[in-house]
Every structure is written in C-alpha cells, then in structure tokens.
C-alpha cells in the first residue's frame, strides 16, 4: 500500500493527462479540487489486488459528458458519494474500495477524489489506461464483464440507475441521458469482486500515472522512453487545423492538424483527432495510431494539450506511447482499433523511431542486468504485462520497484497468460531494427 498525498496531485494529473491522449477533459480544475480535498482529509491509500480481502467489492467510478460544461457548472461536491451510495443500495453490497474506470485525464482524478471523500482505499488498477470516448471501450468488455447496473448522479441531486443492458447499450443510454441531466454526470459501476478486477483490469495504473507525470515534469525523456516507450515522433509548428463535423458512433467533430517540423526540412506530420489524438501520419504512412497513445504537448509544457485547444501557430511535440498489449489483440482492436474510430485501415503497431532508438536500444542490457541481479524478484515486471516494457524497471527508482513488485504478483495471480513472455514479444515486434 502506498498513499497519494496532495503533493502528488500535480504528477498524477500530468500522467493522467498524457494517458488521456488529448481527450478526457482538462485536469486543471479537478486537480485543484483534489489537492484541497487531500489536504483536508489526508492522503488516499492505494492498494494492489492482493491487499484486498478476497470477498471485497470494488466500485469503479468516473465522470462522463462534456468537460466544458463541467468547468462552467462545477461539481456540487457530493455527486460521487451519491453515485457510490446508490449503487451500493441498488446492489446490496458493501463497497470496500474505489477503482478507476479509465486512468486517463479527469477519469483518473474522479476516483481519487471519491476515495478521499468516502475514506476508502483506491485500487491501483484501471480498465483502459488511455483516453477512450466510450464506457464500453474497456478491458471489462474485453474480459466479458458487465458494467451495468450503473448509478448516475447529476450535479443537482438526481440519481439514476441503468440496469440490464449490455455494455454498449449502457453506453448508449448514458449518452442519451447526459443531455437531459446537464451535460455531464458522475457514475459508479457495478461493484466488482477482486477476481473480476483481476480479469478485467490492468494493475499499476495509478502508480504509473504518478511516475509518468513526475518524469514528464522533470523532462526525463530517456527514462520515459526506457520505461514507458514514450518517444517524440515530431516537433514543430502547427500550420493548419481543419475541423469538420463527423457522423457515426462518436458523434462530434473530427479534426486534422498539420504540423511542420522545426528542423525546416519540409517534413510535415498529419495528426487526426476526434475526442482524442488518434493518428499520426507522415508522408501518408502511419507512424502512430490508436489504440497506441498519441499526445500533443505544447512546447515547454508537460501535459498533453486537449484536442480542442490545438490551434494554428502553436509549437508542439507529438509523442507516442504503446498501449496495453490487450488492446493489440484482435478483440482489443475491434474495440479500440482504427476501424472503431471510422478509419478504414488496419492497426499499425508503433515503430521504434530514431528518438526512441537510443534508450530502447540500451534497454535489453538493462533488462538482462535486472533479471540477473534479481532473478527471484519478478518485481521487475511492474509494467511488463501492462506497458510492454519489461526491462526498464531496473532503471526505475526504488519506490516504483517495490510497488511494481506488488502489482507484478497480481499480474501473475490473475492467471494472465501474458506476462514477461508476451511483453518480450511486444518488444521484439517493436524493435525491428534491433
């Protein structure tokens, strides 16, 4: 168990922002709220799956809807509490811990806030680890777990229950409802057993967000590359942003941005976005695409720029980060691949670029050293199953090592056939140039 203090919030928010890939709202307002709550109520304990009693019930909570409206008409304060209470009442179980639905953007800050408000521990796991526009785009769906019944609470004291629908239906009902209840809402999902959590969630998300945020804020590019596979695809100036209305599943607007490389070589990168940054294309060739994470970070900043804030003239870096390996499976790609966003082409795995080449090239040696020095400690797999970077953990700071060890256990406990081996495969495919 570890704790999230008020002083961790900036790192957490920055990491959440990078995981959000431009969607999931601006973390600014909720960070302030969270800082204050943590200061007043003390830190939130964060636990792994193994630290929970086997019969514990975990409720994933989050917010949904328009973040613009959320900022204009902020929370009353009790929305999360009402949602959790309602789902407990509806299902007749005791809620032992709070979990993240998707550890991205404000979606990661809501559960921390809820845990602080309710005085419950937060489970260090989530079901997406990237920004997703829909609730059903979740590892829970991937694992065949239902998210309904779902308790929804608005800012005015109203509460609703969605029950008996499959995940896609629940998502549709939620979308339809949001307009009627003020544009945004908080929700609490069906309480999950620990076994269900192990099946349908990726562990270590909160820890990863804090660490990613801290590294990003300190500008540790090499560490980021080594540990999270985060690399800079491109940096330059936004020379064109074209937005057009889009029809389809995720009704909203699609936008295209063109970024001209700062080196003046005439290279241009085309970025396609909807709620999130989805594709990075150079010379008609996909350099990064959903479900891998694409972030646009304003020059000198650490957080990902929300898609709606991208505009002509900004100097930006375009970053890419590999997604959870689950998303790269056929079933995962069906939920979160390019076609799920209306793009008629097959997923192209993130290639190792020149920027990432150096640190990653050094990776295998580090991995070998790590494994050799602590062969009995599978702790090195803090992020192997989740971030598909196994080796870097040896270079990671000590606190993360211990935490990773704990989580790593759970990775194995849940009987996931993926693990080190799968992660190594992932590496192999990502390093074609050796």
């Amino acid at each position: 168990m570890w704790r999230i203090e008020a002083t961790d919030v900036d790192d957490l928010a920055t990491g959440a922002s990078l995981f959000s890939t431009g969607g999931g709202g601006d973390v600014r307002l909720l960070s302030a709220l969270l800082k204050r709550t943590l200061t007043e109520r003390g830190p939130v304990p964060v636990v792994g799956f193994d630290e929970l009693p086997p019969d514990a019930h975990v409720v994933p909570v989050a917010g949904a809807g328009s973040y613009t409206l959320f900022e204009e008409k902020p929370m009353a304060g009790d929305e999360l509490i009402r949602a959790v209470d309602k789902i407990a009442l509806h299902t007749g179980v005791r809620v032992d811990a709070i979990a993240c639905d998707a550890a991205a953007g404000v979606m990661l800050l809501f559960p921390v806030l809820a845990a602080a408000q309710l005085g419950l521990p937060l489970v260090d796991a989530d079901s997406a680890r990237r920004g997703v526009p829909r609730m059903d785009q979740s590892l829970l769906t991937f694992a065949g777990l239902q998210i309904a019944p779902l308790a929804v609470s608005d800012g005015g004291g109203g509460t609703l229950i969605i029950d008996g629908l499959d995940n896609e239906g629940t998502e549709r009902a939620m979308r339809a409802m949001l307009a009627a209840i003020g544009g945004w809402a908080c929700y609490a999902m069906r309480p999950l057993s620990v076994a269900e959590c192990v099946r349908g969630m990726a562990p270590g998300s909160v820890r990863a967000a804090v660490e990613l945020g801290a590294m990003s804020r300190r500008g540790e590019e090499e560490a980021l590359a080594a540990k999270y596979g985060l690399r800079t695809l491109f940096h330059g100036k936004v020379t064109e942003v074209r937005r057009q209305p889009m029809v389809g599943m995720a009704a909203g607007s699609a936008a295209t941005a063109v970024i001209e490389h700062a080196d003046g070589s005439g290279r241009v990168l085309r970025v396609e976005m909807q709620s999130e940054y989805l594709l990075a294309i150079e010379d008609g060739e996909v350099t990064a695409c959903v479900p891998d994470l694409v972030c646009v970070v304003e020059h000198g900043a650490a957080r990902c720029l929300p898609t709606e804030r991208l505009r002509y003239g900004l100097w930006v870096r375009v970053l890419a980060m590999p997604c959870l390996p689950e998303w790269r499976s056929p079933a995962g790609l069906e939920l979160l691949g390019p076609r799920a966003f209306g793009y008629d082409f097959d997923y192209v795995p993130l290639a190792a670029g020149p920027e990432a080449g150096g640190p990653e090239g050094a990776g295998p040696e580090g991995a070998g050293a790590g494994e050799a020095s602590s062969p009995a400690a599978p702790s090195a797999t803090f992020d192997t199953s989740d971030m598909s970077v196994s080796s870097a953990s040896s270079a990671a700071p000590a606190p993360s090592d211990s935490a990773a060890g704990a989580v790593g256990h759970h990775g194995r406990d849940r009987g996931d056939p993926r693990g080190r081996g799968d992660a190594s495969d992932g590496r192999a495919t990502r390093l074609p140039r050796g």
């Binding site: 074209r242 241009v268 294309i281 010379d283 008609g284 996909v286 209306g342």
Partner: protein
C-alpha cells in the same frame, strides 16, 4: 496504348474543372488506365500507370494521404480527390514529394468520369470518329453558310471557332484572340493545317480556306482548343479540315455567282447602250431583274485604273461596289474592258449643284480603296431616259480621260468642271494635231527623254516660273533654267514668246493625253461600249508600242516597210502643217508616222 500524359488528360473537357494542387513534377507521366478506389486495399492494388479517382463516398473513412501513398507505391500516376475539404497541406506536400499530380474536382459520378477518361486514354479513335461522323452529317443537312459551318464545327468540338479574312480580321464566328505570329511575318507554307499556341493552356488550329488556283488563302478557319492529348488535337485538326472543304465549296460558289452576275451585267448594259431607243419587252425584263431603272435622270460615272491592273478587274467589282455603296454611290456598277461604269438614277432632274456632292462622295470612296486599286474617275451630267444613260456615260468617260491627263492630284473630274479643258479636249484629240505635237516634241524626247519633256511641261503649267517648277520637280532652280534653255535650243523656240509658248504647251498636253490613251488602249471619243476582241487586240498592240522607246523598237522596224506608202502620205500632210517641219522632219518622220499608222488601225476597227 496511347501516349497520353497526365497533363494532356487534364486538358480534356472532362477534367476542365479540376485543379492541380500538388505534384506538378509528375504531370508528364503517361496514363495507362483509370481506376476508381474507395478503400486502402483498392489503392494498394491499382495497376501501374493508373489515374486514380477517389470515390466521393469513400472520403469519410480514409485518410487521403494514406490512400495516395498506397496508390503511388502501386504505380499510380495521378490522384483525383473529389472533395477539397479533405486535402490539407500535408496531402499536397506529399504529392509534391512523390511527384504525384494531385487534382481536386467535384465529382458526382466517379464511374462515369472514369469511363469517359478511359475512352480518352484507351480508345481515342472512338471519340474522333464520333466527332467526324457528327460533323459530316450536320454539314450535309444544314445550309452551307460560314456561320452554319462554324456553329456545327464548334458544337462538334465544344470549341470556339472563327473565320478570318486574309488580313486576320474576324469575318464570322467567335471573337478569338489571335496571336500575331499567325499572320505577321513571312508566310509559311499554308498548305494543310497549322497549330499554334493560343496562350497558356490553349492551342489554335488554323486551316486555310481557298479555291483552287488562288495564290494565297482567301480566308482562315480558326479553332480554339485546350492544350490536350495529341489525339484530341488531331480530332480538332481533322474536323477543321473537313469544315474547311465545306467553306471552300461555299467560297467557290460565291465566286462563280459573282462572275456570272458580272458577265450578265456587262452584256445587259451593252444591249441597253446599243439600242437605247428600242427597249423591247425581253430587254426590259432583264433590266428589271438586274434592279436597274431606265427612266428618270441618270448621272454617269466612269472609273478606270490609273495604272493597268495586274489581273482581271472582276475580282475587285464586289469590293468596289461595297466601297461605293458605303460612301453614298448606290447605283449599279458594271465592268467594262478598261474599268467600271456606274450611274445614279433620280426621278427628277437633279439640281445643277448635285454633282459637287457626288464628286465629294467619290473622292472619299477612292481614299478608302486599297493602294493596289488606284482609280481615276470621271462624272457626266444628268440625262434623261435610256438614251441618257449612254450620253452621260460618254461624258463620264471623257471626264475620266481628262482626269487621267490632268495633274496627278485630280482623281475625280466632272465634265462641267472641265470647262475650257473640254473645249480643248476636241483639239487635243484631233488626229492631225496629235501627229503634229509628236513631231514638234520629238527633239526633246530624243535628246533628253521624259525628263526634259516633263520639265518643259511643268514649267509652262507653272506660269514659266523656274522656282515653282524646281519645287514641283524637286530639283534646283538652276537645273530648271538650264533644262529650259536646252529645250528652247532643241525646239528652236523662245518660251517667253506668247505664241511659241502656247504652241508648245498645247503640244505637251496633247502628247501626254496620247501617252495615256495608248497606255489604256482605248480610242478617245469612242463610246464606252464593249470592245470587240479584235479591237482590244489592236489596242494592246498599240499600248505595247506606246510603252516602248519609239526608235530602235524591233516591232516598229519590222513593220515599217509594209506601211511605207501610207506613212509617206501621212508624214507629208503632217509635216506641212507643222511650223518647224523642215528642221525635224527627217528624224521625226519614221516613228511619228509609224505610231500614227497604228493609231489609225485601232480606231478604224
């Protein structure tokens, strides 16, 4: 397989609206086929040399850059996007980078467009056959006029067409901006079809229109086409050639009509002049058909070239008629052997001052004529009835002779204006005085040629002033004085003596008239009736004699012994009348009489 490039394909009508927004460096690649694609998989498998059209329905689900890259990798040579909103700067950059022409055009039906482009690429002969087929049928069906032919050709080729005169002015059709080079400068061979650039993206197809025997094109047929595939231009050239034959046929028909009418008019006028008093029903009908009026008051006009024309006068008739009509002379115009006659007909006797107006009109009309058609004109007095036509035309003829004999500035002469000159006209034209004049001036011609003779003539016309004469001739005053002194010596006269001066001046006038007469080959005083073949032959022979130096002419020398007897007789008569016959007789005799003999031969026939 045809060698059609992307650039050429872009020039076709089908892609007239398309804009090239990138990849211009690839415009000269050959297009082998047309492909319509809607998926990335389709883009990856387009045939090499494809002109790729992205289906409008597909643009929502694809990133155009990716499609374009895939198509380029498969060997596509051009890429058409139906929605400009889908093309961002990265797309055009990629097009530039890969040299893949990127076109943007709104496409309603991509398959239809593909089909049409495919025909351009793979079966251009079909399109060509269609154009020619259409043209032939329409030309056959529609009336044969320049406007009709041009509009048929224009619609067959969807192009602008024009018919130009030989000078490049638009005669019919569209106002096409023509490059100077098409008509200026040394003429190239005008056989066949010319294709010249008509500005950026345009070509002009030029086809000469002429009738067999013409030394240069009478007209030019011009078609304005976009710079497109070679086969496209070929269709336009073939079609234009076909249309030019139709126009040649029309031109030949017009010419034939013109000549037939001219001959008819000439014959009709002869008939009227022959028997003005006996106009029978048949003749009256012909006159009516020609649109002439025999009653009323007629004012005759005689127009004659001031220099013998190079060819037939008939080809100028229409032109002249148009020029005269434009300047108010709206009567009939009839060709004669040595010029044209025209007459104005009024119902009432025109006031005496009307002729001034007529003369003014004629003067302006003459100015408007081209240099190659330089005319002098005589105008007669108004006379009534059919007989009046003959009378006024004769007066006009005389006036025209005097206009020719007078100062070079006098192009139009009215018989009334001539006054005393007319009195003198009889004197000038009398046979005996002409012979005398020639004999009198003989020493001048022999010693100093035309120069001396002209100096004397000009000197006398300018009131014996050496300075005015010098100015008129463009020589120094002393030169004039010297020449005059020389002439006086040669002629044995004193030009300051009134009698001597009168005689010499009269002789000069007569001499000049004689020269003009022989030059034009018509006997003075004879009615301007059509000449018989023999007469014109004889007068031509006379013209030849007149144009050459009198002595040393082999023709003269050869004919001299034959006409010997006559000559002796004539020369005695003439030399007896002359004041200085004794002094110059021996020298002047042969040639003077010789010329006289010929003159008589011509007037006698």
């Amino acid at each position: 397989m045809t060698d059609i490039t992307v650039r050429a394909l872009c020039g076709t009508e089908e892609l007239a609206e398309a804009q090239v927004v990138g990849g211009r460096s690839g415009l000269d690649r050959d297009v082998r086929s047309i492909s319509v694609i809607s998926t990335l998989a389709a883009a990856e498998t387009v045939p090499t040399g494809s002109f790729v059209i992205v289906a409008p329905d597909a643009v929502d689900g694809v990133v155009i850059d990716m499609l374009m890259r895939a198509a380029r990798a498969a060997g596509a040579v051009a890429f058409l996007v139906p929605d400009s909103a889908r093309v961002v700067s990265s797309t055009s950059r990629l097009a530039d980078k890969t040299g893949m022409p990127l076109l943007v055009a709104s496409v309603d039906d991509p398959l239809r467009l593909a089909q049409r482009l495919d025909r351009v690429v793979n079966a251009p002969e079909l399109g060509r056959a269609e154009v020619l087929n259409h043209l032939v049928r329409r030309l056959h069906r529609d009336p044969l006029t320049p406007d009709g032919v041009l509009s048929v050709l224009g619609s067959a080729l969807s192009a602008k067409t024009a018919l130009l005169g030989a000078d490049g002015a638009v005669v019919a059709g569209d106002d096409l901006p023509l490059p100077k080079l098409a008509f200026g400068g040394p003429k190239k061979s005008w056989e066949g079809v010319l294709r010249v650039s008509g500005g950026p993206g345009r070509d002009l197809v030029l086809v000469p229109v002429s009738v067999a025997g013409d030394t240069q094109p009478a007209m030019w047929l011009v078609v304005d086409i976009p710079t497109g595939p070679r086969t496209h231009a070929q269709s336009a050239e073939d079609a234009a050639l076909l249309a030019s034959w139709a126009l040649s046929a029309w031109l030949a028909e017009r010419r034939l009509e013109g000549e037939r009418d001219a001959r008819e008019r000439t014959q009709l006028l002869s008939a009227v002049l022959d028997r003005p008093g006996r106009i029978d029903r048949h003749l009256a009908q012909r006159v009516l058909r020609a649109g002439w009026r025999l009653d009323g008051w007629h004012t005759g006009i005689y127009l004659r070239p001031s220099e013998p024309p190079g060819g037939s006068l008939v080809r100028y008739t229409e032109y002249l008629h148009a020029a005269l009509t434009e300047h108010g002379i709206s009567g009939p115009l009839v060709e004669r052997a040595t010029g044209w006659v025209a007459w104005l007909t009024d119902a009432e006797e025109p006031p005496a001052t009307t002729y001034r107006q007529t003369v003014r009109w004629l003067k302006t009309a003459l100015v408007s004529l081209p240099d190659e058609l330089s005319l002098v004109v005589g105008v007669g007095r108004p006379y009534q009835g059919p007989e009046g036509i003959a009378t006024t035309l004769e007066e006009a003829y005389q006036a025209s002779l005097l206009a020719a004999a007078g100062s070079p500035d006098t192009k139009v002469a009215h018989i009334d204006e001539l006054g005393l000159q007319r009195l003198l006209a009889d004197w000038y034209t009398s046979e005996s005085f002409q012979a005398y004049a020639r004999k009198l001036l003989e020493p001048l011609s022999t010693a100093g040629g035309e120069t001396l003779l002209r100096t004397v003539e000009t000197y006398l016309d300018h009131e014996s002033s050496t300075s005015t004469t010098a100015a008129a001739l463009g020589v120094h005053r002393n030169t004039v004085a010297d020449r005059i002194a020389r002439a006086e010596r040669l002629l044995g006269v004193t030009l300051s003596a009134p009698d001597d001066r009168l005689v010499v001046q009269l002789a000069c006038r007569t001499h000049r008239l004689g020269t003009v007469e022989r030059g034009s080959g018509t006997a003075p005083g004879s009615a301007p009736t059509p000449q018989t073949p023999q007469a014109s032959q004889a007068s031509q022979a006379g013209a030849a004699a007149g144009a050459r130096p009198r002595s040393g002419d082999p023709l003269d020398a050869a004919s001299a012994p034959v006409a010997d007897g006559d000559k002796e007789h004539d020369s005695h008569e003439i030399s007896g009348d002359g004041p200085d016959a004794g002094r110059h007789g021996a020298k002047a005799e042969g040639s003077a009489v010789n010329a006289g003999g010929r003159r008589r031969a011509s007037s006698g026939s």
